[in-house]
Symmetry: C2
Subunit: 331 residues, 2 copies
């Protein structure tokens, strides 16, 4: 069973994933799957993954067989496990908790090497619906407090497999990073009586210099205090604290803007590794006036080093104004 442990000074939780147990000689060897190796995410190899929890597939095709275009399976090496209660206990002066949670993989396409921006609109829209369907299903499990959806693309961004996929992790607590963001947004709301993200959208659309692209329902911009060069946030124009409230029309518009952003990143920066992550409200806090869901996209171009670890500050060598300009100009 993985173990959640709490740092007694800073209150940060870590997952000690003993089942992924790595010994010294395991490190430095990781690389994306080599040519010729069998890909467990490719059609025909469905038996190599745990049984699917969701698939959008052709009528008449069988579960765990080919015929799908988006397929969701439990992670074979989960960092957290579903079977158990989130019991807390002490160990000497320390605090720990059972590693309860869910860890799933969203296989985005049957094609082994197709970037999200190259997929059909319908396929990308269905990836988005798969995110939502899984959230709606897992939400019914009262042990879970938060669900994070994220994508690691490329070895340097933490991906261990090439085949296009995103991940979902359901957690038995609201993580500190999310708490801080919501707290910050709450402070702003208490002072101004306005959502800080709504204010950002208004200000940026007026100012224009950090806007990358917009459509009916969404705006993509390089945030004023970007941590990373070419960091991009995609925000819904209409205030809503939770992603899963997404309407059909918004799913179409999100598809459009997400494909365009990924394509702009690839064309501007030569297909860099990247991460994207959904920022949405905790499962049990619905319809918050002070929080606004969004997607953060971060190309992996620089390295986090001693300074960042020691301060929590970031050094960004490209201003968001410059970054937005490059991204706007290149298709």
């Amino acid at each position: 069973m993985p173990e959640l442990r709490r740092d007694p000074v800073i209150g940060r939780w870590v997952i000690i994933s003993s089942e992924r147990g790595r010994i010294p000689s395991d490190f430095g060897k990781e690389s994306e799957d080599e040519e010729g190796k069998i890909c467990s995410f490719c059609p025909g190899n469905e038996h190599l993954t745990p049984s699917e929890v969701l698939a959008y597939r052709k009528f008449g095709t069988q579960k765990d067989k080919p015929g799908w275009w988006v397929r969701v399976v439990p992670n074979k090496y989960p960092v957290l496990k579903v079977e158990d209660s989130p019991e807390r206990s002490g160990e000497g002066m320390y605090d720990k908790m059972n590693g309860v949670g869910a860890h799933e993989v969203i296989i985005e396409t049957p094609e082994h090497k197709k970037e999200l921006s190259e997929l059909d609109d319908k396929n990308v829209e269905d990836i988005i619906w798969a995110y939502r369907d899984r959230i709606m299903d897992l939400k019914r499990d009262i042990r879970f407090e938060y669900i994070l959806i994220f994508k690691n693309k490329g070895t340097a961004a933490g991906a261990s497999l090439v085949h296009p996929h995103s991940q979902l992790i359901a957690l038995p607590m609201v993580p500190i990073r999310v708490q801080q963001e919501i707290q910050g947004a709450k402070q702003y709301y208490d002072y101004k009586q306005r959502c800080v993200f709504c204010d950002i959208i208004r200000e940026e659309l007026e100012n224009e210099q950090r806007i990358v692209i917009e459509n009916d329902d969404f705006v993509a911009l390089c945030p004023f205090a970007s941590r990373f060069p070419f960091e991009i946030w995609i925000l819904p124009k209409k205030h809503d604290s939770q992603f899963e409230d997404l309407q059909k029309h918004e799913a179409v518009m999100l598809t459009q803007i997400l494909k365009s952003i990924i394509s702009k990143i690839n064309n501007t920066l030569g297909e860099p590794p990247y991460n994207y992550l959904m920022h949405t409200s905790p499962l049990k806090e619905t319809h918050l006036s002070h929080y606004h869901w969004h997607l953060e996209v971060m190309p992996k171009l620089t390295k986090v080093a001693g300074f960042e670890w020691g301060t929590g500050f970031y050094i960004n060598p490209t201003s968001p104004e410059e970054a937005a300009k490059y991204l706007r100009e290149i298709g």
Copy 2:
């Protein structure tokens, strides 16, 4: 002038280092200095760095000439600059500040490729004294609130030069990461009336399973909630909130334990990239009962990816008990 910008939601500052200005084609090219390239940190090339602010050198040798064994110079590409006042201003709804600070490089040895663990004890002790001397000097500048000392070793850990060096950054504010640590330690102290780090040292020395090594004045351990595999903290046994109070005997003991830890990391993990960073109290908060300076050493073995960015949690595949066992056993 570099610019400090504050994220309006989470309150995190970033440094937009426009003078390091990077355009899309600059990324993906960084690598450590190639064979044959002239190293500006090697003796004889002193003219390639800004003029030294400190050097321990042979009697009779000249400033900015060979003859030194530890040399401190301003960073040629500083992320923050000394000339100016830390003025704050607004830009629309956002907050920013002049990028005032100091950024120095501690060149640890004249030898181009010698690891810290291979240097003479006297050399390493003098690196430690150089850290302290620079803190004592910069402390007199009342614009500075915090000084961070850190080392990036290896490209993956953020180093851009091979020649052994550490860095120092003086900041016009106490960074958020330091504030959080001190706040956490204060909460513990308010509740228990004891320093949390003193408690950790006591508990770990009794329990033994996470101890790597100890000597008269210091203990090195893998913390209970290690974020990274083989993460190690070196703590002084005697309570003190600030590194610069270091006594002569402690400098000798710190030299011994630091050399031994670096050597153990290299022997156990095959000379991995690593970072170490000094955690010490803010310049204007002296002799805190609730805070305890220490050095955190983090071999760079795993990648920070979407999950960590989204939650602030860390996934660690090697338990600290296992890591300490490996490190204890290997010299």
